[in-house]
Subunit: 342 residues, 2 copies
DNA sequence: GTGCGGCCAGAAAACCTATTCCGAAAGTTC
DNA sequence: GAACTTTCGGAATAGGTTTTCTGGCCGCAC
């Protein structure tokens, strides 16, 4: 019995008061003599009393827990996202359940059910790609915020990245750097994300009256190897290319390697912009990559903030909130000239 | 009121029985007529009844929740670890709270306190480096398993990676490939992880009567840039080097780049082994990297399994469990010859 | 035929831990 | 001594599980 964690009852006995009084004393509620309050507080301290959050939640109807359901296999995109979520939630003493569905609907349903039973205050559903997905099968009334992937129910709220804007950002940056023959190498055409990034770039080129170098977007895979191969293709099609915008930092790494093999200087001959700002990939590149940061941490922060609003009953306006991307400037676009003789 | 989630009482009314009977019916306990049981189940289904896990936990003393506290800023090492943890926990319907301390003791203490109040069944404390750390300040009686970083209290249990074994694995592999002038480039000497990996390699070289190429371990940073620079240094000190074992895949990438710049073939002239098996880094390398996989997913699985044992009251024997590493074979050590003329 | 033990199904009540509301006892004030 | 105020105890509550209790029915024995 010495192992048993103390309850209000134990504290009450030790302080010589009733349980109700203990509660009031510890929560600064009701009318109590200062001396009594102090005695209770001392007893609680002596016993190492910690109120049982389960009992409190049962009473109050709020658990101060939130769940993040990700389809990402705890992948790389989830990390900055989680950081942002905790930024927003930590201040409120809200704990977070992390669930990974591994892209399995059965697993997802199972998790949703468990979260229902645990009476979480709200749920964040994070996909790793922009796509429409069926709404989470969860008890009605539980606030849900979708991240990146959006629900097929238009009344559900979604926070997402601005890929069109990111593509435009890259395009404007390259134009400002004096480039006029800009090519684009990116991921699979069947995904919306790369298509949007390409559209952003295209709109900027259109405004400037320029055409895409190579005459087309080079859609392919999210791999360095595709970057290497596509760079060859692009340079073959358009030898006067002076800038390449890549749909990911991995692709950009491959592109840069091909350029190096061909004795083309980056950014001297060709400027390169990546996407993701995946630190180890982008900073480790030679030269380090200028890259579009999709601002995932901020996406997480916004999603969590809106979820807290919904939990508090504040109506969230609009059905989608887009978080602007920003550009991480490094050497691959000549922001800082490395050294004159190179 | 239509929004209120149904309780056992609602089910009881609908089925025309008492609440106790509902409980027994839904949990297959006690003696009930089959007809009654079916009636209750039907009523529960009709109402969409989900038992309140808080109430159940309050009663049973078990919450079926576990927390993972990481100092890693949700870093990359946490991902495979979490995957392993969920592998083991998922089967038991145990949910996991994820807490990140961001290396701040205040934050950690705050999280520990919250978890205490939530009455989690157990806690996994994951560090990103092998080091001794003060035990988590948590209520006595709550099982805690430390991962990678170990507690300064020797009675605490720790699951960790086998860095000595990993280093030896790399060494033996290179010897088996016929290499005899093996160098080693790795991270900071102040960390135990790189020192252990070096020790593992050294022991294999000793057994074979060989010396380390370059006469020393090249300790430095965990960056590609260090890999590039250190490779230069190593080749300068020992031009006959025919293999390099690197303390991380990032370092290996840098090393491979330098070798390529110097027109040295990998693995033809020099074989390279990395460490981490960080897929995008290792697979994207040209040639793809043979690398030591520290088996973090298994570490997570073992940690969670042992934690469940401790929660169940089974005594866990020993104070540290080491999970063996394994070798991911790719082309950088010549497992598969790319093509003859290269 | 009747009395009683035993069994079954399900109701009723206790319990888990903390909060809150109501009211009572004690002390004050006029 | 009536009317308040202050201070605190006790009970109700949240939503389940578990234990105890009760009423009806059956079977067996006298």
């Amino acid at each position: 019995m010495s192992q048993r964690v103390p309850t209000v009852r134990d504290v009450a006995v030790r302080a010589g008061v009733s349980v109700g009084t203990v509660s009031k004393a510890l929560n600064n509620r009701g009318q109590l003599r200062e001396e009594t309050r102090a005695r209770v507080v001392a007893a609680a301290r002596d016993l190492g009393f910690r109120p049982n959050a389960l009992a409190q939640s049962l009473q109050s109807g709020r658990t101060y827990t939130v769940a993040v359901i990700t389809t990402d296999r705890f992948g790389r995109f989830g990390n900055p996202l989680m950081l942002g979520v905790e930024d927003a939630l930590g201040a409120d003493r809200v704990s977070v359940f992390l669930c990974d569905t591994r892209d399995d609907p059965i697993r997802e349903h199972h998790h949703a059910q468990t979260l229902d039973e645990r009476r979480v205050d709200g749920i964040i559903v994070a996909g790793r790609r922009k796509q429409t997905r069926p709404p989470l099968a969860v008890a009605s009334g539980v606030p849900v915020v979708y991240v990146i992937a959006q629900s097929s129910d238009p009344s559900d709220f979604c926070v997402t990245t601005d890929d069109v804007g990111g593509g435009a950002l890259a395009g404007r940056h390259l134009l400002a750097a004096g480039r006029t023959h800009i090519g684009h190498i990116t991921g699979p055409e069947r995904f919306a994300d790369p298509r949007e990034r390409a559209a952003g770039l295209q709109s900027v080129l259109d405004s400037a009256g320029l055409d895409l170098a190579g005459g087309q977007v080079f859609y392919g895979e999210w791999s360095e190897d595709w970057g290497r191969r596509a760079a060859e293709m692009l340079l073959h099609a358009a030898p006067d290319t002076d800038a390449i915008f890549c749909g990911s930092d991995q692709i950009a790494r491959g592109v840069v390697e091909t350029l190096r093999d061909r004795r083309l200087r980056v950014p001297g001959d060709i400027a390169v912009v990546g996407f993701d700002n995946w630190e180890p990939m982008a900073a480790g590149c030679r030269p380090p990559l200028t890259t579009v940061d999709p601002n995932l941490r901020e996406v997480g922060r916004v999603a969590a903030t809106r979820l807290l609003d919904m939990i508090a009953g504040t109506p969230v306006q609009g059905s989608t909130e887009t978080v602007p991307a920003w550009l991480m400037l490094r050497e691959s676009t000549g922001v800082r000239l490395v050294d004159p003789q190179s």
